[in-house]
């Protein structure tokens, strides 16, 4: 449960650059959605991931494209990391016919299996048992795929967490449980909802290893996740990785954060992983300023293009309302 151990994998420069690219794209997407909703341009509910980019970027770089992801309503950054196009995300948020779920699901139910993004859920904890089943399918098919499931600190208090962790251990499935501990569940701080200091130590109750890492440090998260994923891929069974991070905009867009101590938020904002990582890449000489500016410009462009395309896209036709309920509608009610 140490914060880092020396033997952990270290990201190569290319991986670091990729993580920064992803973080930038996540951040700009979140900024744009927040702006659009704030101004009334976009009418949608939104659970911002801003502040948690380091975890999702590292996860995106550690996972292979054939690996699978299960995430939550707050998982648009996870999707971006996994390779889901920003356009697909924004289209779903705006409820457009061209979006992956045709707007039927909304972003809290986004799936994009082409990129291995198998499921998002708005029900806290519910993704974990489903990830166990994806892991079981891996084992049964003899694949070398790993399934990662991302969830919050609050989710670890649900019965679903317990049943899934135990079943994952007993069935020995290749699932990496990634807890993005942002220290809050809705408006309640984690210390009010569990008596243990860390989520990681809960893994022991299932005979599963538990790691804890600074979730604002992409390189550290990379190390822990790479260790966990490769262990799991090699048949070592499931692992829990707790990444300690923070949520900058509160629970959902519009949350006034009245419950949030000002200093706590201010301190967290100071540890903003995106500029911090930018500085590190410059300091380490991984990227030059102009390279970083190019990365940022590209990301901004991707987001702009996506918004434009989605804004122009048609709304779903109400004639499609009854589609996609069943494989066929024979004798089904209307």
């Amino acid at each position: 449960m140490a914060v880092t151990t020396p033997k952990r994998p270290v990201p190569a420069a290319e991986q670091q650059r990729r993580m920064y690219e992803l973080m930038t794209l996540m951040k700009l997407t979140d900024d744009r959605l927040a702006k659009g909703i704030g101004s009334g341009e976009f009418l949608s509910v939104y659970w911002p991931h801003r502040g948690q980019e380091a975890v999702a970027a590292a996860l995106g770089v550690v996972l292979r494209s054939t690996d699978q992801l299960v995430t939550t309503y707050r998982g648009l950054h996870d999707h971006i990391g996994k390779g889901v196009p920003v356009e697909a995300i924004i289209g779903e948020l705006l409820g457009k016919e061209t979006a992956p779920g045709m707007g039927k699901g909304g972003t809290s139910h986004l799936a994009y299996p082409e990129a291995g993004a198998m499921l998002s859920t708005g029900i806290v904890g519910a993704g974990l048992p489903i990830a166990v089943g994806l892991g079981l399918a891996v084992r049964q098919q003899g694949l070398d795929r790993v399934v990662a499931v991302s969830f919050g600190d609050g989710a670890t208090n649900t019965g679903s967490f317990h049943e899934a962790m135990n079943m994952a251990a007993v069935l020995d499935v290749p699932v990496v449980f990634v807890c993005q501990n942002n220290l809050y569940g809705e408006k309640t701080p984690v210390e009010r909802t569990m008596k243990v200091a860390t989520v990681a130590e809960r893994a022991a109750a299932y005979g599963m290893p538990g790691l804890r890492v600074d979730g604002n440090d992409p390189d550290a998260v990379f190390g822990s996740l790479a260790e966990a994923v490769e262990r799991t891929r090699a048949g070592g069974g499931p692992v829990l990785v707790e990444c300690v991070t923070f949520r900058f905009r509160g629970h959902s867009y519009g949350d006034s954060q009245s419950y949030m101590p000002r200093e706590r938020l201010a301190a967290a904002l100071e540890r903003d992983p995106v500029p911090a990582y930018r500085r590190r890449l410059l300091d380490m000489g991984v990227c030059s300023e102009s390279e970083l500016l190019a990365v940022e410009a590209t990301a901004a462009d991707v987001v702009d293009q996506a918004v434009k395309k989605c804004t122009d896209a048609p709304e779903p036709s109400t004639e499609r309302l009854l589609d996609h309920r069943y494989v066929d509608d024979h004798n089904m009610p209307a």
Binding site: G159, G185, K187, T318, L321, L322, R325
Partner: protein
């Protein structure tokens, strides 16, 4: 009784506050309900923990089964717990506790133990929150002997019915239509209780009776106003409680109008309107001049995209159409 104009949110808050003030056995538990956690995600419990303390307004982990179970246990010892399931969509997680424990306890012990809990749950229909945050699942509970099911449509009813729920000696599922939380009305300021099983005639009419509850009531009122202009006189019966069900009031009204339309935001097929329509028909088979019509949501998961969501849920227009068909009047071309 003195009355004040307030929102349903304020009325619910006041009912909780008066119950907490009057009876020290009353306490609340749920996710994010204390003021330290924002006073309830929809503001219904706002201010109560500050006033009554965190021992009586208890923030819990995200554990719907344990929230409900803990309420049951406390009730078993004579407390009056009010548990909050933040949205009704999450009630599946508490289903075992509600159905196998709360609802059956009195019966299984021949009255030796009881479970006078109130489970409050928000019903977020029609607000773009998608398939797992918008469901009206009350029909699940209509078939569960031992529980009571309540859904108010006005601030005054919300306050009076919630008061009754808290002090009722049986488990009560109390549903709060989020669409109406901000709606205003005159509300008795003092504690008042509205008995269960007593439907409310919110509009008097002669041609057809609309039987409904919750968000169905204002939608039906809008339809009725429209229909009045066409010369159709609509009576609206707000059931207030689905269990007990005020069958005498339903029969009295429909016996008069001889036509009925049942309106719910729940799915039409397999939803609560089935039992209501079946009960009406069984009892008034010879009086009815038209089949009991049912207006409900289309049989789909609730889509997130606004245009699809609007097509899924009923609205005043669809209600008016059903009424027109039932009274045999076809408005305009087509129909």
């Amino acid at each position: 009784m003195a009355e004040r104009n307030m929102t349903m949110r304020e009325a619910l808050n006041l009912a909780l506050e008066q119950a907490l003030a009057r009876d020290e056995r009353v306490f609340l538990l749920g996710e994010d309900i204390a003021d330290a956690s924002g006073g309830g995600i929809l503001g219904v419990t706002n201010g109560l923990s500050t006033k009554y303390g965190e021992d009586r307004v208890i923030d819990t982990p995200i554990s719907e089964a344990a929230i409900t179970g803990a309420a049951i246990g406390a009730a078993l010892d004579g407390r009056r717990p009010v548990a909050e399931i933040m949205m009704m969509d999450f009630i599946g997680i508490a289903m075992d506790q509600i159905v196998n424990h709360a609802a059956k306890m009195r019966y299984m012990t021949a009255g030796r133990t009881t479970s006078p809990i109130t489970v409050r749950a928000a019903v977020v229909a029609g607000m773009g929150t998608g398939a797992t945050h918008s469901q009206s699942l009350e029909s699940w509970f209509m078939g569960v002997p031992g529980i009571k099911v309540v859904m108010p449509s006005s601030p005054a009813d919300a306050k009076g019915l919630l008061t009754t729920a808290i002090f009722d000696d049986d488990p009560v599922l109390f549903l709060e239509p989020v669409k109406l939380l901000g709606a205003r009305g005159m509300v008795p300021v003092e504690e008042h209780a509205i008995p269960f099983g007593q439907a409310n005639t919110v509009r008097i009419g002669t041609d057809v009776t609309i039987v409904t509850y919750g968000w169905g009531v204002p939608m039906s009122q809008a339809a009725a106003a429209e229909l009045e202009a066409e010369g159709i006189s609509v009576e609206i019966l707000d059931l207030r409680t689905l269990l007990p069900l005020d069958v005498p009031a339903m029969l009295e009204a429909v016996n008069r109008t001889r036509r009925a339309v049942v309106v719910t935001t729940s799915v039409r097929f397999g939803g609560p309107s089935a039992e209501i329509a079946a009960t009406l028909t069984e009892n008034l088979f010879d009086r009815l001049v038209a089949p009991v019509a049912r207006v409900g949501a289309q049989f789909t998961p609730i889509p997130s995209a606004p245009v699809l969501e609007a097509a899924h849920f009923p609205d005043a227009e669809r209600i008016a159409d059903a009424v027109r068909r039932t009274v045999g009047v076809r408005a305009g071309v087509g129909g």
